[in-house]
């Protein structure tokens, strides 16, 4: 069997006394959309932060294309090809749209995605390229956050709650893009609280409960009732 794009084994993340993740195993193949579902505090964001080297890893291994990422800084991990669309977008409010996007390009890998590609995907951003990010609507900011991550030309894209607080029409736009990215061979790991939305787009899913994986499978093959039961830990 060939090496998956991302292989997480036995991942444990601890914040002080609190164990956010406990022995998590997970993998993502190139071109695959993998969804991580779970209630608030299940450890979803910790998982993504640990993968980009931002959360302190207490145990386990994370490999990108077979290379262990242990000891690498976030900057090095992003350069190696993992980009994160963080929860809450985390744009730089005083920087213009274009400057925010350019940061993605400067922290990432060389590749085919350019500023123009992002503007072709989100034409609205091209009109606002000189405006500070703080003047944008929530949906537009999320487009910038996604664009910034794409400009890093990632092999693996991590999306943390990209639909949170946005109008359904905007969320549809964002979720239409995800399969096209997978089609280009990018692996996607998507964290969502909105189960329906995230299972609809995913090839496989993992359900996290209190820091551990309690269920995994293909959305079409697992009854919805089983998913709900594991989601709430019933």
């Amino acid at each position: 069997m060939s090496e998956p794009l991302l292989a997480v084994e036995g991942l444990t993340v601890v914040y002080g006394q609190f164990r956010a993740l406990h022995g998590v195993d997970l993998h993502v193949d190139a071109g695959e959309i993998v969804s991580v579902i779970g209630a608030n505090g299940a450890g979803k964001s910790s998982l993504l932060k640990a993968i980009v080297g931002y959360a302190h890893r207490a145990g386990g291994t994370i490999r990108l294309d077979g290379t262990d990422l242990r000891g690498r800084s976030t900057a090095q991990i992003v350069k190696a090809g993992i980009a994160l669309v963080p929860e809450g977008r985390r744009l730089f409010p005083s920087l213009t749209v274009e400057e925010n996007l350019a940061i993605g390009r400067s922290v990432g890998r060389a590749g085919e995605v350019t500023l123009q590609t992002v503007f072709d995907t989100f034409p609205m951003l091209a009109e606002k390229r000189r405006q500070p990010a703080r003047e944008l609507s929530g949906g537009q900011q999320q487009m910038v956050a996604l664009g910034r991550a794409l400009l890093a030309n990632p092999r693996l894209l991590l999306c943390d709650e990209i639909s949170l607080g946005l109008a359904p029409v905007i969320v549809n736009t964002l979720y239409e893009i995800i399969p096209t990215l997978a089609h280009r061979g990018i692996g996607l790991l998507i964290v969502e609280q909105d189960i329906s939305r995230s299972l609809a787009v995913a090839d496989r899913f993992y359900c996290l409960l209190e820091g551990s994986v309690t269920l995994t499978g293909r959305p079409a093959e697992v009854p919805r009732e089983t998913v709900t039961r594991h989601y709430f830990g019933l």
Partner: protein, 289 residues
Amino acid sequence: MNTVGLANQIVQGILIGGLYALFASGLSISVGVMRFVNIAHGDLIVLVSFLLLALTASLHLPLPLAIAVALPIAFVGGYILQRYLFQRVLGKGILQIVLVTFGLSIIVENFLQGTFGADTERISGGGIETATLALPGGIGIGVLPLMIFVAAVVLIFALDRLLYTTQVGAHIRAVSDDVDAANLVGLSSPRIYAIAMGIVGVTVCISAAFMSVWQNFDPTSGPDRLLTAFEAVVLGGLGSLWGTLLGGIILGVAQAIGAQIDVSWQLLAGHLVFLVIFLIRPQGLFPRY
């Protein structure tokens, strides 16, 4: 007090405001980007002044060459200071960084006293110090103060362009906006902070070059420079470079007018004007943050 005398003093005040803006430009960056007040800022200006003194007096380098030698040293010095000292205490609370920079201030002062003695020094500018331009109406402008003012405007313009038109400038503003977000998306904030402090080092070197020719200095001159710089930064509004220039000019003019009333009022007038404006507009004239 006659009108020509007053006009003359105001012009001198504006020009000395340029020197204060030079002192303050670096502090403005460290406050605006790294979000801490470097208590040793004035002492670093004095330290580089002594470096220039050593290069010109002991090695007999011409001043422009000495400045050219000192500039890269100041950049690398600022980079190393931030990367290996200040960075260790950043984000650990306001008190830690204040104590570290305060300690650095004491170390620099004592090092200079031990090495150069407590004498008052000045670097020769080769006659430029005394050259004046006579303007119509009986107003005389010193060539050196005019050069300093022009240098301040050019430096602030250059810093502004650097911050707003270059990639490194965008990175510096990004970490200033939200350092956690910067680290999360793959910017290396310790490196960007260090570059910003290297740029501060360059401003310190330029300030030192002009100060050491225009004014007397000794190893204990630092805190006065820090106070002036700090007042100019606060008057101008945190993080606003052009505001810093205006803050420097306000202080310079206030001192000049104070000196007209009574010589002993010179410094006090500057502090009083600072206090009044600060009470009316604590956020400064052009706040950026």
